[in-house]
Amino acid sequence: MAKRIEAVGVTAYYGAFKAIDGISMVIEPKSVTALIGPSGCGKSTFLRSINRMHEVLPGARVEGKLTIDSQDIYARDVDVTAVRRTIGMVFQRPNPFPTMSIYDNVVAGLRLGGVRRKSLLDDACEKALRAANLWNEVHTRLNRPGAGLSGGQQQRLCIARAIAVEPQVVLMDEPCSALDPISTLAIEDLISELKNQYTIIIVTHNMQQAARVSDRTAFFSIDKTGDPGRLIEYAETAKIFTNPSVKKTEDYITGRFG
């Protein structure tokens, strides 16, 4: 249930603007990888390249090679919807479907995949909500609107929705940045549990968070505004935070830059 992701020279554009340049890294299965760096350095862009959400924006395109268990994600004959089912995503702002109940939100992906049997959906819903540590809070009101939950609960609902389809990889783009500290801790605990099953890549601007939850950390940076973002250093989280080999990384994590 977890796959290895390999990026080779990934370069992404918004129209003529090159947002990231030549990102190469290997992401191991069943691990948590944190992407850190100053804002605008292309963390989100790189993350969205991994499940082909980047190309959703008009004029946006990706060059280079991205593979999941050595299968090319961007190959001509690959079905983009299959890529996105394999690589789930949690966004910065909780975005449950406002017209759907909690239950319908969780099983939305399964219904897309053609699952209709009520018993299957019920089981999957409970399993995903339990995995997202939300079951106890919502199991009595599954048919209430998902948008009626608190921000932290909504974000866990979105995580449940993402893992209900049992993806191989879960991408999270600053999943806690809109949440209070307690909800943030709940999500961090959840991430530590989920990594037993999934490959997780998380963007965060919170370095303590990166240090707490991740196994490996990638530091992105830009030279100046308008330049493309580059991968500066990628190593074990402990090494990045205690003994980085690049001066820029050290400056950033000690707060002297960005």
Binding site: P58, R84, R85, M89, F97, P98
Partner: protein
Amino acid sequence: MSQPSFPGSAEAASAASADSPNDLTVQDDTRAVDIPRHRSGGRGPVAPMGGGGALPPKRRFGAESVFRWFTTGAGTIVLVIIVAIAIFLIVKAVPAIKADKANFLTHFEWFPNDPTDPKFGIASLAFGTVFSSAIALVLAVPVALGIALCLSHYAHKRLANGLGFLIDLLAAVPSIVFGLWGRDYLVDPVRQLSGWLHKYFGWIPLFGSDGPYGKSILLGSLVLAIMVLPIVTSLSREVFRQTPGMNEEAALALGATKWEMIRMAVIPYGRPGLIASVMLGLGRALGETIALALTLGGGWAVGSDIIHDGGNSIAANIANGFGEANDIGRGALIASGLVLFAITLIVNMIARAIVYRRREFIGSAV
């Protein structure tokens, strides 16, 4: 929702006291209120914006209260006008209904001008009104929603803007033009279409008649449909456009195709707005006068058939009959207008009920 910050609130006061010359050391709201007014200088020329001293008294004739009086006044005037119109209409209608020798609600025919034996009823007209509007909606709404979705989610931006402009132009065409066009140019194609429909689909009651064809409910509804199309299209395009991008991305990230994304995120989110746009279209269709007066064949027949010559509607009947109506005839037409008003009201209430029933799921969308 950002908290409104009053002058004198803890935050504003401490910020202000930092650089205010008179050191009042205001720390919280309660203390700020306790400070005697004469020390404040709240309205004086040197007062700091944040309210360095006590809270100033409420101004009695500020823009705020002027605006409140203005809006209240405007609201009252609208109410008075509506009540006045209603009274006028009822006063004119009641004598005519009293003079009616037939049952106004159930009688089919409309002969109110007979000086000795006025007989008229709304049944056939009301039926024709609702029937032709319903058919028009059935024809127009799927096309309108299709165009709107295409404009909001499929077409290239430039093309979408151009097409959107054309649609808006269509909305600006006066209804008499549609009526004349329908009567003079659309009637022959509709006659042929009617014959074809009867030949192949004659077993459906809608197409049961074997002639004569031409100025029928089908023709009227087609013209109505074309008139309703731009309203429904441009409103629902706006509705579709308002779908939050993050909901669309959520659907795509779950592996939805574009069409699945539209069914998952765009249409449900826009449903209340779509209902509203269809209802506005229906409102226009129900009230449409001149185009139907020109394209419907007239008469009092009531049936499920839409291709036979004939068809009538309340508004068309008023337009056709007002000129030669006598006193009772005019009152009768006004009474029919009131019925049309009631129909429109009921339609709107149903629409609201539909929107209201799912309010907790769409609170953000309405």
